[in-house]
Amino acid sequence: MTNHVSPPVSPAKTTDKSLESLRMNIALAGVGGQGTLVAGKLLGTVAIKLGLDVKVSEVHGMSQRGGSVITYVRMGSKVFSPIIEAGTADFCLAFEELEALRWSGLLKTSGTMIINSQKIRPLPVLMGKAQYPQEIRSVIESAADGKARIIEIDALAAALTAGSPRAVNMVMLGALSIFTDIPLDYWEESVMEVFAGKPKLIPINLQAFHFGRDLVR
């Protein structure tokens, strides 16, 4: 059974006006089991600390069985729809290369896409019915025609160095954090709050988060 007890979130701490006017759409694309849900929850926690309204839209059910999963995070002074429309994502974090290709349509002009170089071959590819596309990063980059930032990192290797393949999500968030104006302590406190129920995991996840920052600096 999944644990549906959300830890309490400490109240908004920001007094910085520029942060209060922040508006961000962040899409997290991956494969069931890659930790996009936890990443979404963490971004929700960061938003509350910023005193912002936030919506995190998850996919449960069928898609967990190794299917493609997308989590949308929208934050701002007031958020209505939980869904990010095509061409409106400020950030798209692709936890897997093929998913980067699939969800690249979400990215907006001057947005940033961070791709984890991991490849997880889907059933049609395993069955020889389809080809896993080559050079996904450069294909997306040329389709963006210089109007967006496309970055690729090896988040899996960094997560393994930090101590767990499951920390890929923290590496991705670490990389994201560099491109936002949100101060580091908001992120670190959110990591600690999200893993409050499993304190042993905090050091690994914090380290993975910092590895992610280092990869894109």
């Binding site: 549906h4 959300s6 926690t45 898609s63 080809q131 967006a148």
Partner: protein, 590 residues
């Protein structure tokens, strides 16, 4: 204090704050997490019921006895619970009673796209529809007040995007749990014609009063919000659709309904009179539109929008404004097509061995609902029909009787343990009683897998993971009168094939119990040292292990298998399939 909660978690929190005493539900996406997160509130009695009808009846009982009670289900669950719902509407309540129905437009995880609002109208009960997590909590609490004030069960309609979106919720202190006194009252609680005739009058009167009060008192009965902006365009909407409208049409006037049945007719008329053009934005059926047109008002709705799937801000903008929609910076036309990533049976999934056997036997399969429905997809493609929970056995019996038994020589019905307890067992009784010749395979993976691992009467644990009596499936089948019962481990795919072939030949009802725990639950985890190793010298690259499509076993450049030890669950299915002894246990520790 503020917390960011899933819509479903907010419903659970609302139940806690409202002093709910009892929750009895059957799981179903997207409603499951409500009852799962009730578990954290220890003062609430909660349980997994065998099916939605049972869950609803338990809640009805608790309500009559004076407790606030809740039952939660997915949209198709309401079909199962419809019988108690329709008559609970007549008897009303003692303690407040709420039915939560979670709809799934777009069918993220469902077999149809039915619209639960039709049930509120048909059963003559009020229905609320929240649009975010805060409203989930607020509306549920209001539903209990309305339930007791108007002596009626209340329905709350959720939506995948509301159930499974997290947003900010302000927590409040819980009310005490109050159990109201129970007084015997046959006129109210015993529905025989003589009493029900009188109750029906009360029901109709109640709905009229609710409709009036919902208009007159929008803050404490109807929970509607009216935003008057442009006179040119007015939108009536509710629930998830409201959020898309708010994004797409910042200048429109909006009437957002909270209680969506019965309709606040006076309020709607007054809103309609303030705008030049009235448009109804609602997913699925033209429920509001039909009713509003029946009031004699002119409006548009499904002439602009589809009856299918989820809406979006983009769809609404396109239909109602001339504004361009945002376009992606990554021009999609020049990108290669991304191969689909369909869900697959997990590494170590016990259903795989059984379905490989069915696929080799080339039999007809009447299927059922659960993880094993994936057996309908390649590479097994071993399913002919799948309708609703429990139907596999009835359909096989139908095949049998339609052909005077001929079909039963080559038809197998498959059903999971939870689905068997839900509504398969009554079908099996029917088949035995009516002297069928069917062969039923119960896929006993010791859990309700599809919906995320809930306990059920066969697993030996209750919802709080305390030990509980467990039904012995073979004893149950024997007591029904099944004479041929075989138990096997589906990892032995060849044995499955032999046993099923033998059972197909018998001209009585046969049950094969394919028993192995789900690979994702603790008792289903294999030992690391038993993971598969490949002996490349013995491997002939015949491809039979590759073809079974285990996520842990992929084809290398030499056409021989490569095992991913991070994923391999040491089930041994690939070893059983290899005719050359090239796959053996021996994956190193850790």
């Amino acid at each position: 204090m503020k917390q960011i909660l899933l819509g479903n978690e907010a419903i659970a929190r609302g139940a806690y704050e409202a002093g709910v005493k009892l929750v009895s539900s059957y799981p179903g996406t997207p409603s499951t997490e409500i009852t799962e997160s009730i578990v954290q509130y220890e003062r609430i009695y909660c349980e997994w019921a065998t099916n939605e009808k049972v869950g609803a009846e338990v809640a009805v009982g608790a309500s009559i006895r004076g407790a606030r009670a809740l039952t939660c289900m997915k949209h198709v669950g309401v079909n199962v619970a419809a019988d108690p719902l329709f008559t609970a509407s007549y008897i009303g309540v003692n303690g407040g009673l709420v039915f939560v129905a979670a709809d799934d437009p777009g069918m993220h995880s469902s077999q149809n796209e039915q619209d639960s609002r039709n049930y509120a109208r048909a059963a003559k009960v009020p229905m609320f529809e929240p649009s975010d997590s805060q409203e989930c909590k607020d509306y549920l609490k209001k539903a209990y007040e309305i339930s007791e004030q108007y002596d009626t069960p209340v329905m709350l309609r959720l939506h995948t995007r509301v159930s499974h979106s997290r947003s900010v919720v302000e927590l409040e202190d819980p009310q005490d749990i109050v159990i109201r006194p129970y007084v015997k009252n046959v006129d109210k609680y015993v529905m025989m014609p003589g009493m029900a005739i009188k109750r029906h009058v009360i029901v109709e009167d109640r709905m009229v009063r609710l409709a009036q009060d919902s208009s007159a008192d929008i803050d404490s009965v109807g929970l509607h919000t009216i935003t008057i902006k442009s006179q040119k365009l007015g939108i009536i909407t509710a629930g998830a659709a409201y959020q898309y409208v708010a994004d797409a049409l910042p200048d429109a006037s909006i009437l957002k309904l909270g209680m969506i049945w019965p309709l606040p007719q006076d309020l709607i008329r007054s809103f309609a009179s303030k705008v030049d053009r009235l448009v109804i934005v609602e997913e699925l059926d033209p429920f509001l539109e039909t009713e509003i047109k029946a009031m004699g008002l002119i409006c548009e709705g499904k002439s602009l929008f589809t009856l299918q799937g989820e809406y979006s801000a983009k769809m609404i903008r396109t239909a109602l404004t001339g504004e361009p929609n945002p376009a992606s910076v990554v021009s999609q036309e020049i990108l290669p097509v991304a191969p689909a990533r369909p869900p697959v049976m997990c590494a170590g999934c016990p259903h795989k061995g059984l379905f490989l056997a069915l696929s080799r036997l080339r039999v007809q399969v009447t299927g059922d609902i659960g993880c094993y429905t994936l057996g309908a997809l390649p590479p097994m493609a071993a399913m002919d029909a799948c309708v609703c929970m429990g139907a596999s056995i009835g359909m096989a019996h139908g095949f049998d009787k339609a052909t005077d038994g001929e079909a039963s020589t080559h038809t197998v019905s498959v059903i999971g343990d939870s689905t068997f307890m839900h509504s398969g067992v009554t079908n099996l009784i029917n088949a035995v009683y009516n002297q069928s010749r069917i062969t039923v395979v119960i896929l006993d993976n010791s859990i309700t897998g599809m919906t995320g691992h809930q306990q059920n009467p066969t697993t030996g644990l209750d919802i709080r993971l305390r030990s509980a009596p467990s039904i012995n499936l073979e004893e149950l089948c024997r007591s029904i009168g099944v004479t041929s019962i075989r138990i096997l481990d589906p990892v032995d795919s060849r044995l499955c094939q032999t046993v099923i072939r033998e059972e197909l030949e018998k001209d009585t009802v046969s049950v094969v119990i394919a028993r192995r725990p789900c690979a994702l639950i603790p008792v289903g985890k294999g030992k690391k040292e038993d993971r598969t190793v490949v002996n490349k010298d013995k491997c002939t690259a015949c491809g039979s292990c590759i073809r079974m499509m285990c996520p842990a076993l992929t084809e290398g450049p030499d056409k021989k298998p490569i095992i991913d030890w991070d994923i391999c669950n040491a089930c041994g299915l690939c070893m059983n399939l290899c005719a050359f002894g090239a796959l053996t246990k021996g994956g190193r520790k850790s």
